[in-house]
Amino acid sequence: MAALSSNLLLLLLMSSLDWLSTPGNGFFMARHDVTSPAPPEPHITECISRDQATFQCWWSPGNFHNLSSPGALRLFYINSLASEWKECPKYVHPNRECFFDNNHTSIWIPYCMQLRGQNNVTYYNEEDCFRVENIVRPDPPVSLNWTLLNISPSGLNYDVMVNWEAPPSADVKTGWMRIEYEIQYRAGNTTKWDALEMQRQTQQTIFGLHVGKEYEVHIRCRMRSFVRFGEFSDPIFIQVISSKGSTFPLTLVLVFGITGVLILVMLIVSSQQRRLMMILLPPVPAPKIKGIDPELLKWHTIIHRRGPDKFQLENKGKLDDLNFSSTGGGLGGPPTYATDFYQDELWVEFIEVDAEDAGTGEKEDNQGSDTQRLLDVPQPISHHMNIGFSNAVSFPDSDSGRASCYDPDVPDQDTLMATLLPGQPEDGEVKTSPAPERLLIRTQTAGPQTWFNTDFYAQVSNVMPTGGVVLSPGQQLRIQESTSGTEEEPQQGKEHKGSEDSEEEKEKEEQFQLLVVDPEGGRQAAESNTPQMFAPPSSPIPGEGYQTILPQPAETEPAATAEDGQSPYILPDSPQSQVFARVADYTVVQELNSQHSLLLNPPPRQSPPACRPQHPLKALPSMPVGYITPDLLGSLSP
């Protein structure tokens, strides 16, 4: 018995599960807005009519498993035509179904269902009432098939016509049921169905299907102006395979074509990159003022000697507006312009030195102030020294600016002759020179290209008594003066000559620099009476740069004697081999020698005092770089 009951229970469970899976579960619940879970007591699960002429009802025993056996529950119905509850006309027990045939079906009248168990226990739900026309759910349409309508010219899309037939159970011929259909389709790999519009005909066109894809189509129907749909039909599959594989090569061709074009463009761009860059981004040309005559740019500096210790510098040029400093650097001209201006050919045409004024004896007094005055341009001084510079500036053609170590500002007159210090010797020479003498110093560059690291200005390193000025340009020059030049030096005293420089270069590397040397080697002393000083364009001796030398009084005499015809000029032997190097502009005066010349490089003690003034300088130890300040001047004065 226990086994039997357990078997029955199992059977019941399985049947209930099977029954629960039947469609239409929750029909009555779905009818109302509130979806409540299945009630535990026996209840009617669903009533459906397929053809609006018959209908069926299913029930469930709920949790009352003892009532699940056939016959335990009985279904009763009532309608407006009947006056009492009637039992189900036909049971289908395996399904727990009650079937109402035509004779027992009336449309447009309400029916109510009831379940009764043993002992007239009634399980009744008021909601289980309906009218048959409201529970109609037609069967799915049949004979679903499709035909190809057309393919798009691109061969990628096509249209199909789907047609079907009304379900046989639905009597549409007599018009008893008016049905509308709904087609749904989807691509093979998607899960979402696309629904088309309700259709009253038995055919429909599906547009825009893709070639090569597989589509799944199914259909369902419902009564017109009613809500509930019937079941879906079995799906059919639609697929159109492109013939000749026309689409495949087309896409391939497109892809390859575009790739090839892209590669070609890239090659062209990469090979002609420079040209393209030139075309697209042309370089900005540097301004060239081609109309300017370099001759016009020549200017000269005039050193006016106002006193034994006083000098005044003045720049004069052919072009009045030699405001290169203001224009070149300030107006936004290419900075290279200004630097080139200073770096390139710096021609010092002449330096006029007027030895008018007899230097007063108070060198010491005036030394400090002389420097000031020297630096102070506007003070008129009687002693007039003209130093003419011809600055032939050749504007560079190239755009690249040469790095200039120098301030592109105007060659300050002060700085130009900053180290020009009138020393004691003005007395003699000055006095002895009744007439203003002019020292013509021409500095000539070895060449524009080789004029490298050249200062714009040249320092007058010494002034000869005769009025000659020894210039020392910025860089160290390896001065190889001719001995003749050196011989002239003792006559001129302390002047610094290229020969001296050659001696210097024998000395130490750090010796200072440079004298006015004519790289051309031409002696111009024979030309005129005016002494000429040549400033060598380059200083091969790397070193500290300028050295200032105070012209000693004793040197003025040689300078004076130079008036006799000896031109205090020094000619270097071979300036061409000079190496240009950066030299400091200033140096510190170390001491004064016996001849009252400034020793920028104090010579060793063993050097004879009769040495030319250059010697002590040459013998100087490593020259410090610095300025000669008035203090130093004062301290150095003998």
């Binding site: 807005d33 035509l81 447009w108 009248i109 008021e126 009432c129 011929k173 007599t174 018009g175 102006s225």
Partner: protein, 231 residues
């Protein structure tokens, strides 16, 4: 000369009158001919008329369905279907076929009459329903407009079915027993005060059923008479 013109004119007039009457006589069974051919009028065929009427009835039924659903949502009436089972709509007195067999067995004239009766019976109740809805502030304008539309549609539907009946009688499809006059039963149903105490919800409930009946009967009639198109 004057006599000649008068005679010719009178002759033309006589001929024209004869033609007019003859055409009206021969209209039966012949292809429909529009009296003013040059006027641009077009005669509707019976199938076309039927289609229009059926479409109209379908729309009426749809609206009644919507209104009924709205009422159910708002008012949640008692689900006393049993009570409703016993309760009758005011058109219950009109005998209507309740099944497919019954409907198919019914004669065309009877069927047409039933349709007309139903439509007549609902004219006044729907009008009053609309009035009561307009006065009720519980309903929004949308529902009120639907009620008005429903009332109008029933009115038009009645006229349309009348025309169809006339056409059918003209065509000899049905006998002339169907009178365009309102039958006494319909009058009785419409004049009876049974529908007055009906609540709005019950009225809609009843009308939804009856509009479905009308739609169904018309379709059956049409498919019986003209089975070619859309049956």
């Amino acid at each position: 000369m004057m006599h000649g013109t008068i005679r010719s004119v009178s002759c033309v007039w006589v001929v024209w009158v004869c033609l007019f009457f003859c055409s009206s006589v021969t209209m039966v069974g012949a292809a429909p001919i529009c009296a003013n051919a040059q006027g641009g009028c077009h005669v509707l065929s019976l199938a076309n008329l039927f289609d229009r009427v059926i479409q109209h009835s379908a729309r009426t039924h749809g609206i009644s369905n919507n209104l009924h659903t709205e009422f159910e949502q708002y008012f949640m009436p008692s689900k006393n279907h049993i009570g409703r089972v016993s309760r009758n709509c005011h058109t219950s007195s009109i005998l209507t076929p309740n099944g497919k067999d019954n409907a198919q067995r019914m004669a065309r004239e009877e069927l047409t009459e039933v349709i007309l009766k139903l439509l007549v019976a609902w004219r006044d109740p729907l009008w009053h329903f609309h009035q009561s809805m307009a006065h009720h502030h519980d309903f929004n304008n949308f529902s009120s407009n639907k009620a008005l539309e429903m009332s109008n549609m029933v009115h038009e539907l009645h006229k349309g079915v009348e025309k169809v009946a006339e056409k059918m009688q003209v065509l000899g499809i049905i006998s002339n027993t169907v009178s365009s006059l309102v039958s006494p039963e319909a009058l009785l149903a419409s004049d009876s005060s049974e529908w007055r105490p009906m609540r709005d919800y019950d009225l809609l409930y009843c009308f939804r059923r009856d509009s479905n009946k009308v739609q169904n009967y018309l379709k059956i009639l049409k498919c019986r008479i003209i089975p070619e198109h859309g049956c």
